[in-house]
Subunit: 518 residues, 2 copies
Amino acid sequence: MTSETAPAAPAALIARKVGIDTYRENVVYLRRDCPVYRAEGFQALSKVEVRADGNAILAVLNVVDDDRLIGECELGLSEEAFAQLAIAEGQPVHIAHAEPPPSISALKRKIGGERLTRDELHAVVRDIAAHRYSKIELAAFVVATNQFELDRDEVLFLTEAMVAVGRKLDWKERPVVDKHCIGGIPGNRTSMLVVPIVAAHGMLMPKTSSRAITSPAGTADTMECLAQVELPFERLGEIVRKVRGCLAWGGRAQLSPADDVLISVSRPLTIDSPGQMVSSILSKKIAAGSTHLVLDIPLGPTAKVRHMDDAQRLKKLFEYVAHRMGMTLDAVISDGRQPVGRGIGPVLEARDVMQVLNNDPGAPSDLRVKALRLAGRVLEFDPDLRGGDGFAVARDILDSGRALAKMNEILDAQGRRAETPPLARLAHDVLAPDDGVVTGIDNERLARIARLAGAPKIKGAGVDLFRKLGEKVARGEPLYRVYADSASELEFARQVAARATGYAIGTADEVPRVFVEF
Amino acid sequence: MTSETAPAAPAALIARKVGIDTYRENVVYLRRDCPVYRAEGFQALSKVEVRADGNAILAVLNVVDDDRLIGECELGLSEEAFAQLAIAEGQPVHIAHAEPPPSISALKRKIGGERLTRDELHAVVRDIAAHRYSKIELAAFVVATNQFELDRDEVLFLTEAMVAVGRKLDWKERPVVDKHCIGGIPGNRTSMLVVPIVAAHGMLMPKTSSRAITSPAGTADTMECLAQVELPFERLGEIVRKVRGCLAWGGRAQLSPADDVLISVSRPLTIDSPGQMVSSILSKKIAAGSTHLVLDIPLGPTAKVRHMDDAQRLKKLFEYVAHRMGMTLDAVISDGRQPVGRGIGPVLEARDVMQVLNNDPGAPSDLRVKALRLAGRVLEFDPDLRGGDGFAVARDILDSGRALAKMNEILDAQGRRAETPPLARLAHDVLAPDDGVVTGIDNERLARIARLAGAPKIKGAGVDLFRKLGEKVARGEPLYRVYADSASELEFARQVAARATGYAIGTADEVPRVFVEF
């Protein structure tokens, strides 16, 4: 037997849409009895490459034994896969074994505990942004770069690389100010107060926010109760030039796309390592064109950062990377012992924000004071403002109604909603098991309960807190009320609250002290 | 509004089989328009718990927009999910948000670089064996326990825990001998020679092997060309009592099930950390009832272990854990510079083995000698054998035809196949690009080419090597032949071989030396 000539490439499959939402993972479906490709040959643990008309995507292969879903010579793809391939149904596609991503040797070096170079980190981030990593590889990267596994220059390189693979906005003026919280505290909707205050002062504050991924509400989810947040980039530019600020969803802008991919793995692992937090936040802010940033690091027993040492170390890492990236950063360590305000969930949080803007006497004072402090720090980026005057200026803007007027301008510019969505129609009160003083409110537990109740997808779902730290409560009095729109969701939330309410009741001297200045 | 009474639990869904093979991950399918559960409420990044009739499984949820696959009030499950739940189609099922696995706090401690206790490692392994970890969590565990992240006692606890969650065989006599290779060398089918030699000597050697996961052939895949390997456990016991040995697939026995789950993640990452290798191998061997083990650690530039230091450290770790688990271990570091024998793929490897057993003058001598050395070490576990005599005794057994006779007994006992599967019908020769001497053969590359050609699923597919290290070759002469059964698979293999053959051609003095005694 001698060498045969190379066999012809196999015939194409026909692309077919399959209505299965695989949540951010490309999955393609191939019949086990496909006459073109032997499905089992692909069913190893690596990905397949799907090619059509010059484009290629990577996907996980599921083998189909069911003849209802796709035909023998078809390849089923989810809608997202179609969009990424930029083809229409019925077009020919080919599949092949995916080559390992080019940066996989760098990933393995990092798993082995070695330091990566700038070039290696850029290569890794390019592969991540291009969806060339499997979930397993992404998890490996997230764990291998966790904790103290990245030195500060690696964090810098990672941040640079994340900016480099995405779009970068240019507002054509300076300063472009921003405010960001590292997250983990429910109800912490200060941005919706800081933006109107700062914009009313005349500074440019084009705030783009994320939607909640694992929390019960993000700023974008909450703002959406009042106005449009999904705006084309050109429209956003016009709005910001006109009213000096916005509160929009950042997802459209493709800022730091690698970060979006990494988050899909780091969030379920609830890994928030310093390096990943810094690169994630700063890459998004720099890509959004911000030049000056006030960063909020809440500290508390159920916050993301639980010890002052860790908070200080994180602050220094943020400062180092921001400085090297040419951004002015003012990081503050704040009181993260409990949720901010009363509502948890988009409608409830929007209610709290509007009470503060309206100078309602019943407005949650912790939300008001925190927003004023943060706004004050942002205002002090104004070279014409005297150091230390920011808080008073912010308070004047809020108390005078100028912040509310600015918020109304922003809502009108973005497209005000005719009606605010209603509170969810079912409710369940969680009662105090004992007399005493509230000595602890578990941020994570309350967020989980609000989320099980349907927040943020159901805007009116969530939790409304009736008691905060240090307040007295009598046995049988409600601690908080859970709102949900469906019986199954109310029940999920109720069961979890029944196992542990998230509240600790004790004596006044057991209330943990605040050790933060801010 | 006052507290309402607890809502009733939601109505059940109807279980429906969905013919999609999701490869070792439970996936369930729920219609987006399901009137019972709001699908989006579940579509976070965590798992759902599916309950039916007292049983519960964890699964990933995919949301279905397609009305062909399942009905509005149905929950689609893969066949494996049905089997795990032990229900029939049409039965009622409930879904709920899955609680995080109990050991998740231990996982997080390990990710944070801390040392885990015996209890923590047992808890982690219980959750893994019960399929309570997502792929992302499994990857996190694999990376967090990689390299030097486990100390030797943690490896011991992990091994213990892996034995504890599975079945343990008891052969009711001692010694029960075994031989195992850490893997990575194609064609390394010494077990099929060692077992008949050792069993012919009268020692008990009930060898259970795995099928290939990411390699082109395992011992079970190769043995299956000649006889049944999937035997009920009771039958296996009868065979071993009668003929003193077997060569069966170990998958049926549920030995170390946690290891099977971990492998599904560590293999695609090609992570082979010392701790994971030791716990994986020793847990399987101890569960299989082995009391004495010869362990083969191949060393070479494209083997799993590439430096003598690493080989020695790995050897010591194996010795420590084996000793503490009450097992007698003899670990040998062997020449892993190139594939063993000539064939790569089940049929080709079975051919090599039978040539050696038949004392065929054309049999590959490296396979023969390596098998004799390993068999000799196993034989020396016999207290009646003088130290150093093992090799000669093994050679006598092989040369006299007693090993062949024993192999025939084993084949008959397990159920001899009427016909050996044929070689695959398509072939492609890969030619030497230059004159010279073979100075390197890349184990990984050749394994990948054989696998792309269809091995091990297609028994007759694979690679047949015509040249080994140190042999001369002229430009245009074939280095090896690729066998495949389908045009697409031959083409996949051909393309990869065209990019790099896996052979290095140079001068005689460039052939790497063997630094191993064995």
